[in-house]
């Protein structure tokens, strides 16, 4: 014991020190919650201020339906999700860039990374924001939830129209696998969800006339629920028309219900559904980035052929003249061999501005949908011809272009032949079987198919630049006549003549959700390749 005494004595300050440290330890770790809260992040608590959290996720939802550019240098999301598939397949755009060494989606060598972006983008951005909104406000704000559901259907129909069966009803359950739904089931759900949303919003506007609770965060209608009801009806009409060859009875029923709703459908250009900036969010059009900064996109040859051939006054609003061939409108044909970007980068560009609102749906499109319904003998509230002509007029006024009367009266003009000055193998000469011969002027005595082609062709010109919907309508009806690819690197999985019908599921689904995607392929009813037709793709 004696030996320890000196140590014992000296240890007192030490014990105090260690004791102090332990005390400090326990008191200092109290701040750990604060330290581990990222000051760059927004907490749920903060979102409670001014009830910002109620609508906080609506901008993300709306920005992901059709991807916008997050900044002036970044159009890549839209590029891989929308542009390098539907915008090319629809003939609206062509690319001068030899992506993937010249073999890519444009000539049917499907890029798995792009497919993956197209597949996951609506889930990661749209559905996650919808889900967050549902969790926080579904019961407290049924009106906002109804609006969220409309936006969800708007975004997700684009997804299923690309791939076919996709996970839908089981979204957000967590876990490691999510089951796929058949496209038919998804469409049935769309109709039901739209009906429910229309009912909820109708009740709300009746009870609260003029109220706009979503005014601060709705980038489409600034919280105007009546417009949302019209939009929901119009969307229902669009979806009904999609399934007309697969389930004609449902199609007619839903289409007529949409028209007969008390608030009706989009009828004027002020009803158009566009995403645009508000006081807090700046919406940049990604097409502007891809066209300008990237130089990766040019006017499509098919679009340019129609616009030129019809002497369409909208041409200068849609595209510019070539810089390399001054004064000439010259599109890039899709599905060709490209050696060097410089070869065609000087062709016609898109005439698009930085802040051009992002296109969802227009009144003009709705008139053409009604024209087709009328042509099919449905009760659309008018004749096919009247809707057809109103559709063209509405489109002209949307773009602020004159000369609509003589345009509608033109019974002779047809799509123009195409000459690729770089490589004549891409030419589409006059008289070619792939070149459309349909004229503009309505002729009731023409066959159903001719008039259908006429409606779809004019709808195509009016819906620009909605490549996704244009590609869907081409697959559904075969109109307008979009030229097949010149070279086909699909390895036989996509038929050049029938053209691409869908995108293949991305490999990421096979690696992370294998059993479910395999079952999804079963629901698709064909091989998981670009040539397999979707459920609604049934036109004989």
């Amino acid at each position: 014991m004696k030996l320890h005494k000196p140590i014992y004595k000296i240890s007192w300050p030490v014990i105090l020190l260690v004791g102090a440290m332990i005390f400090l330890q326990t008191s200092c770790t109290k701040n750990f919650d604060k330290y581990n809260t990222n000051p760059s992040g927004v907490t749920s608590n903060l979102l409670g201020n001014d009830y910002v959290g109620v609508g906080a996720f609506f901008p993300q939802m709306e920005e992901y339906v059709v991807r916008v550019a997050p900044n002036a240098g970044d159009g890549s999301a839209y590029q891989v999700v929308e542009n390098l598939n539907a915008d090319l397949f629809s003939g609206y755009n062509g690319t001068p860039t030899p992506f993937g060494g010249g073999q890519n989606n444009s000539n049917y060598k499907l890029n798995d990374g792009w497919d993956n972006s197209a597949f996951s983008s609506p889930y990661n951005g749209l559905m996650s924001a919808w889900f967050q909104t549902k969790k926080s406000i579904a019961t407290s704000h049924p009106d906002l939830y109804a609006m969220a559901n409309i936006i969800k259907v708007m975004g997700m129909h684009r997804l299923t129209d690309i791939f076919g069966p996709v996970p839908y009803s089981k979204y957000g359950a967590g876990g490691f696998e999510v089951a796929y739904d058949s496209q038919q089931a998804i469409y049935n759900s769309f109709f039901a969800e739209l009906d429910s949303a229309i009912t909820t919003l109708t009740a709300y506007v009746t009870a609260n006339p003029g109220a706009t609770p979503a005014v601060n965060f709705d980038l489409v209608y600034k919280g105007n629920y009546i417009e949302w009801i019209k939009f929901a009806n119009s969307l229902k009409l669009r979806l009904a028309m999609h399934i007309v060859y697969a389930d004609p009875a449902t199609a007619q029923k839903e289409a007529e219900a949409a028209i007969n709703n008390s608030y009706g459908v989009l009828t004027t250009n002020t009803d158009n559904a566009f995403v645009s900036s508000n006081s807090t969010v700046t919406i940049l059009n990604a097409l502007w980035v891809i066209n300008g900064n990237y130089g990766d996109i040019r006017a499509g040859a098919v679009l340019q052929s129609f616009l030129s051939g019809y002497n369409d006054p909208r041409i200068s609003s849609y595209i510019t003249t070539s810089t390399e061939y001054p004064g000439q409108y010259l599109g890039v044909r899709n599905g060709i061999d490209i050696a060097n970007k410089n070869d065609r980068v000087g062709f016609s560009q898109l005439n698009i501005s930085e802040y051009q609102p992002v296109h969802w749906m227009t009144a003009a499109e709705v008139y053409f949908l009604r024209a087709e319904g009328a042509l099919r003998g449905w009760n659309m509230g008018g004749t096919a011809q009247s809707f057809y002509e109103t559709g063209i007029q509405t489109s002209f006024s949307q773009w602020g272009v004159s000369g609509v009367d003589s345009y509608i009266a033109d019974a002779t003009s047809t799509a123009a032949p195409y000459v690729d000055p770089v490589n004549s193998v891409n030419n589409v000469p006059a008289g070619s079987s792939i070149l459309s011969t349909v004229t503009i002027h309505w002729n009731a005595s023409d066959t159903f198919e001719t008039n259908l082609e006429r409606i779809l062709t004019q709808k195509y010109l009016a819906m620009y630049p909605d490549g996704q919907e244009a590609w869907t309508e081409f697959r559904r009806t075969g109109y307008p006549k979009i030229w097949p690819v010149v070279v086909n690197y699909s390895g036989g999985t996509i038929d050049t003549k029938t053209q691409i019908r869908r995108l293949a599921y991305p490999s990421s689904e096979y690696s992370t959700n294998n059993a479910a995607v395999q079952a999804g392929v079963g629901l698709l009813g064909g091989a998981d390749v670009g040539g397999t037709k979707l459920w609604w793709d049934k036109k004989p």
Partner: protein, 1096 residues
């Protein structure tokens, strides 16, 4: 004798700096002699040297105003002691028999210095075979009377090799004592800066000679560790001067956390500061790391603690091993000045082989020229050489240090500069270091202060990138041979009348690679990074009582980084964001505050030695940054934030991180008879990153045992030393900050959802490691051998798994999985000395076997309760190349696409008779070496010295997408050889070369390529370092200088064996993944230069 010198040193420290009187007053009654001597010392300023066993006496002495002689005579009058005064030093010795001293006939004197030329006080100088001798004074001088001119003098001093020199009638004998490297008393610096006898270590600690590191002068000295540390895998970044270095000790352990070694400077962890590393083929470079700020000339010694046992006391940051750096400090004695200057020149070491016999495919009429070199054979070989794009790089290093000190206070000051120019034009790196370190005794015997400050300015210009964006190598490598006189692209900017200024001249388009004129890229796209960094540290050590010390340390490391990026107008819009150029600025601040308090107690009890340290540490890491920029808006080439559209100016992110760690720890070591040692440590961390989880504290223990067999029992004579050791340790590693508390982000008015699911049950990762080792020396320490076997398991890996997006999240954080590493690290060295010649070969061997033991096994899905098994995780992915973790494989496995084969082994062919590239990834190997060997040889003969290092790496796989790109464009020698042979053999038939490579070589970044064809063995052997020097002794300059050393130094002089088209040791990323992949990496460098060192 050993005891004597040890005590002498203690006596030295008792010197007081107070004013002295030459008159001494003593009034002692039975006081201990030691106390009396101390009083004399205080009053007179004279220093005492004595043997402690001589002064165990009590004396009674009373003197007033006595002279030093009077006082000493009175004090020692009854004792068997005599004294001698040399300058201000009093040496106490046992009284001689009085004979030899009186018969003295020859007065000997001399000067003793260490191998750095510094005077050595307290060295015992004795005449062999007698008890007669003396010790050197503070200046290292001695005076001794010898009986005649025939005897032999023995010079000995603890920690130094004894020397015997025949007197041979010389009256002046000067001696340089060499520091002993292989003695039982060798001391190693271990965790927390605690010095320990190497015998007592229960784990492997390796010393690296700072001289070896300093000879080569890589701006980042970590690159020079290659081949010198067993257990280390060292890969320098391919990003030019000042880039970071990947140093992984004992294998990759963590899937998502940092795996680089921790650098600890003077006991305190340093910030990593590694920039974001490239992870795809588009681009991205490296902008250095924390350790690259350090001036290598400030380093006194380096110890490497390669395993968790050694590093356990550093907590989670030490989980990957620690490189301990001890910096220089001032020394008592004459001021010494050291100046060295290095100048070296560099050029690319390994380049792909290019062809120059086939020209470009002619362009169609009116079309722009093409960039495919599958044209006709040229009438005469082209003179264009891609290698001509590179300049000769240069490194100029100057370093000055001044050491000075009194007994009380020592100071070390250094200033260093590095000016490097890369082999790519306008790639520059400058560094300016200023360091001052002061050590002082505040209260004699009690309190010492050690304070240092370091200020560093680093400037980087255009750190070289890999990948295809903004990389001049795209254009330089792919430029077609042949007559391109029309397109003199060196004239990169030409007047454009439509824009009214000079714009980029590049008539070839972006090639789908975003290619630009390489000369434009290096002259009109700038990235300038400036780092201002201050490191200050203070350490106070208080001797509470004999054997008990308290040390408090604090270090502050504050780093400010600024970056300016400029792309001139007509830089490709895709990269600049617009046609008018772009501008960006960012500033970042990273700071760490570290403090700890250590209480150390040392006690010797009979045969037992106890050494206990208790302590606590506090560490706070914070970083924040701000950036703004975008495409220029109104005026082209006006680089100002005011010229950027306010909607695109960015600044949407303002990342900040805070992570705080508090720890309590203790270590105890019990030694028995200096040959058996038990070592126990325990540490508990509280880490802020564990907030919002169920457990915020991490405890980890370690235990070790070592025994010096050679001291326990009699071993055969040829074994001079043998020690066995074993240890077990656990180290915890918390998740990254904020992982447990995901928040929404807000950008451009849009609140974003959370994409990675939060898991509040996250646990820290844990590494459990066991190691055993053997240290032996043979033939009187001429041969030394050390081997360590280790096995570590890292459990509870935190990683992200990608889940189907329809789950509601894109990924989950998972706490599962296990990575194992086991291996051998060994060193063998030999020392031969004969006359003026010495040879010192040293072999360093490292072998590591890494294994992914499990990923998700029976993992319970927190949502559905389902049991999940997953055995694959993709950790790096770019077109055609992936690194994947697959259970049973390694963490560095490389997966690429191959060619489809038929059942009979022949290639499957498509309708054009060409092979078909598989869409599925197959494993081609691991980027890890099987083993590495570094063979270092040092020769010295008189004033010449020669050293060289041969580095060998055996095994491993690398992939070169560069080669694939060169083949697809027809610029590679391979493609010319194939054309000369009439095509490529496919299933025995020759097919057209161009079609073949269009089919298998893919495009950008290996996209669509069968990269399996571009997979190479990473085995390589090189002459890594060579140095040849001559030291001109100071005597040549009449001792106006101490010495001058002139050396020729060379690095990567000769690649002896390498089958890859690039240097497999250089890496794009110094992070954990994206290894073994080359896509337009800057080549590694060969450098040759000179070094001149003056010591004053």
């Amino acid at each position: 004798m050993k005891m004597t010198t040890a005590i002498l040193l203690v006596a030295l420290m008792q010197v007081s700096a107070r004013g002295f009187s030459q008159r001494i007053n003593l009034d002692e009654n039975g006081s201990s002699l030691k106390k009396v001597l101390h009083k004399i010392n205080k009053q007179s300023g004279y220093v005492f040297f004595y043997d402690s066993k001589d002064i165990n006496a009590n004396v009674t002495v009373q003197v007033k105003d006595a002279s030093i002689d009077e006082a000493l005579l009175e004090t020692l009058k009854r004792l068997p002691l005599q004294y001698k005064i040399v300058d201000k030093t009093i040496i106490l010795q046992q009284k001689d028999n009085g004979v030899a001293n009186q018969n003295a006939q020859l007065a000997l004197s001399g000067h003793v210095v260490d191998d750095k030329g510094l005077p050595l006080p307290g060295v015992s100088v004795r005449i062999k075979g007698t008890t007669q001798g003396t010790v050197t004074d503070v200046k290292g001088d001695y005076h001794l009377n010898a009986p005649d001119g025939t005897g032999t003098l023995v010079f000995s001093f603890i920690g130094y090799e004894s020397q015997e020199i025949a007197v041979n009638n010389n009256s002046t004998i000067n001696v340089t004592l060499k520091e002993q490297s292989n003695t039982l008393k060798e001391v190693a610096v271990t965790a927390l800066g605690i010095e320990r006898s190497t015998s007592s270590l229960t784990y492997n600690v390796q010393k690296v000679d700072a001289g070896d590191i300093n000879m080569q002068k890589d701006p980042n000295f970590a690159a020079d560790l290659s081949g010198k540390v067993a257990g280390a895998t060292v890969n320098a970044s391919a990003s030019g001067a000042g880039g970071s270095v990947r140093v992984v000790l004992r294998g990759v352990k963590s899937i998502t956390q940092n795996n680089n070694a921790l650098y600890v400077v003077d006991g305190i962890p340093l910030q990593d500061l590694r920039s974001g590393q490239p992870s795809n083929t588009f681009g991205g470079g490296d902008t250095g790391e924390g350790i690259s700020s350090i001036n290598p000339d400030d380093i006194a010694s380096i110890s490497v603690l390669s395993g968790p046992s050694a590093a356990a006391l550093y907590g989670y940051k030490g989980a990957n091993g620690v490189i301990l750096i001890t910096t220089k400090k001032g020394k008592t004695g004459k001021t010494s000045v050291n100046f060295s200057t290095n100048m070296s020149f560099s050029n690319p070491f390994v380049l792909p082989k290019f062809q120059n016999t086939y020209g470009a495919v002619p362009a169609a009429a009116g079309a722009d020229p093409t960039f495919s070199s599958y044209g006709d054979k040229l009438s005469q070989p082209s003179t264009y050489r891609p290698s001509g794009f590179f300049n000769t790089g240069g490194d100029y290093t100057n370093s000055l240090d001044i050491t000075s000190g009194s007994e009380k206070t020592q100071n070390y000051f250094s200033a260093g500069s590095v000016n490097s120019t890369g082999v790519i034009q306008n790639n520059k790196y400058n560094r300016y270091n200023f360091t001052d370190r002061i050590t002082t005794v505040l209260i004699p015997d009690k309190l010492t202060l050690d304070a240092s400050a370091m200020y560093v300015i680093e400037q980087r210009q255009n750190p070289v990138v890999q990948g295809q964006y903004n990389n001049p190598l795209v254009g330089a490598y792919l430029f077609p041979p042949g007559d391109q006189g029309l397109y003199n692209i060196k004239d990169y900017a030409r007047y454009d009348a439509t824009r009214n200024f000079d714009v980029q001249y590049w008539p070839f388009g972006d090639l789908g690679l975003e290619a630009q004129n390489p000369y434009w890229i290096v002259n009109r796209e700038f990235s300038n990074l400036t780092r201002n960094r201050f490191l200050g540290s203070v350490s106070l050590k208080y001797n509470i009582a004999n054997g008990l010390t308290l040390t408090g340390r604090a270090k502050f490391d504050n780093d400010n980084d600024g970056t300016i990026g400029k792309d001139y107008a007509s830089t490709i819009s895709f990269l600049a964001g617009g046609p008018d150029g772009s501008y960006s600025v960012s500033s970042a601040n990273n700071k760490t505050f570290y403090s700890d308090l250590l209480l150390n107690y040392v006690k010797k009890l009979n045969n037992f030695n106890l050494n206990v340290t208790l302590g606590g540490s506090f560490e706070d890491d914070r970083s924040s940054s701000l950036s703004a920029g975008g495409p220029l808006d109104v005026v082209a080439n006006y680089f100002s934030l005011s010229n950027i559209s306010q909607t695109t100016i960015g600044a949407s992110s303002q990342p900040q991180t805070v992570q705080q760690n508090q720890a309590l720890f203790g270590t105890a070591q019990l030694g028995y008879k200096n040959y058996l040692f038990l070592d126990v440590t325990a540490r508990n961390d509280w880490n802020s990153a564990l907030a919002y989880t169920t457990n915020t504290s991490i405890f980890y223990p370690s235990v070790g045992l070592s025994g010096v067999i050679s001291e326990m029992t009699k071993l055969p004579d040829f074994i001079s030393y043998a020690k066995v050791r074993g240890s077990y340790a656990e180290v915890g590693n918390p998740p990254a900050a904020y992982l447990s508390n995901p928040l929404y982000s807000l950008s451009n008015g849009t609140v974003s959802t959370i994409s990675a699911a939060p898991f509040t049950t996250l646990k820290p990762e844990r590494t459990k490691s066991i190691e055993a080792g053997l240290d032996m020396r043979f033939l009187k320490d001429a041969i030394n051998f050390s081997v360590t076997l280790y096995d570590s398991h890292t459990l509870n890996q935190i990683f992200t798994v990608t889940v189907p997006p329809a789950t509601g999240y894109s990924s989950y954080y998972i706490n599962a999985g296990q990575v194992n590493n086991k291996g051998i690290e060994a060193t063998v060295g030999y020392t031969l000395k004969s006359g003026g010649f010495s040879w010192n070969p040293n072999v360093v061997f490292s072998l590591n076997r890494n294994k992914v033991a499990k990923l998700l096994k029976n993992f319970k899905d927190p949502y559905t309760g389902a049991t999940i098994n997953q055995d694959t995780l993709v950790t790096a992915s770019s077109s055609g190349y992936q690194q994947r973790l697959v259970v049973g494989g390694t963490t560095s496995d490389i997966y690429v696409n191959g060619l489809l084969k038929n059942a009979n082994g022949t290639l499957e062919l498509n309708s054009n008779g060409l092979p078909i590239v598989s869409q599925y990834y197959t494993k081609v190997g691991s980027a890890d070496p099987n083993y590495t060997v570094g063979i270092n040889n040092k020769f010295a003969y008189k004033n010449f010295n020669l050293s060289f290092l041969v580095n060998a790496r055996v095994g491993g796989t690398v992939v070169s997408a560069t080669q694939a790109l060169l083949d697809s464009y027809g610029v590679s020698q391979t493609s010319a050889d194939a054309r000369n042979a009439g095509g490529v053999l496919v299933n025995g038939t020759r097919v057209d070369t161009k079609s073949y490579y269009a089919d298998v070589a893919g495009t950008a970044g290996g996209s669509g390529a069968a990269l399996a064809l571009y997979t190479y063995s990473a085995t390589n052997v090189r002459l890594g370092e060579l140095a040849f020097g001559y030291t001109i002794p100071g005597s040549v300059f009449k001792n106006a200088v101490k010495s001058i050393n002139i050396s020729f130094v060379a690095k990567n002089l000769w690649m002896i064996y390498n089958k890859a088209p690039y240097d497999p040791e250089s890496t794009a990323s110094t992070g954990t993944f994206y290894q073994g992949f080359d896509y337009l990496n800057q080549p590694s460098l060969r450098s040759i230069g000179f070094r001149l060192n003056f010591s004053l």
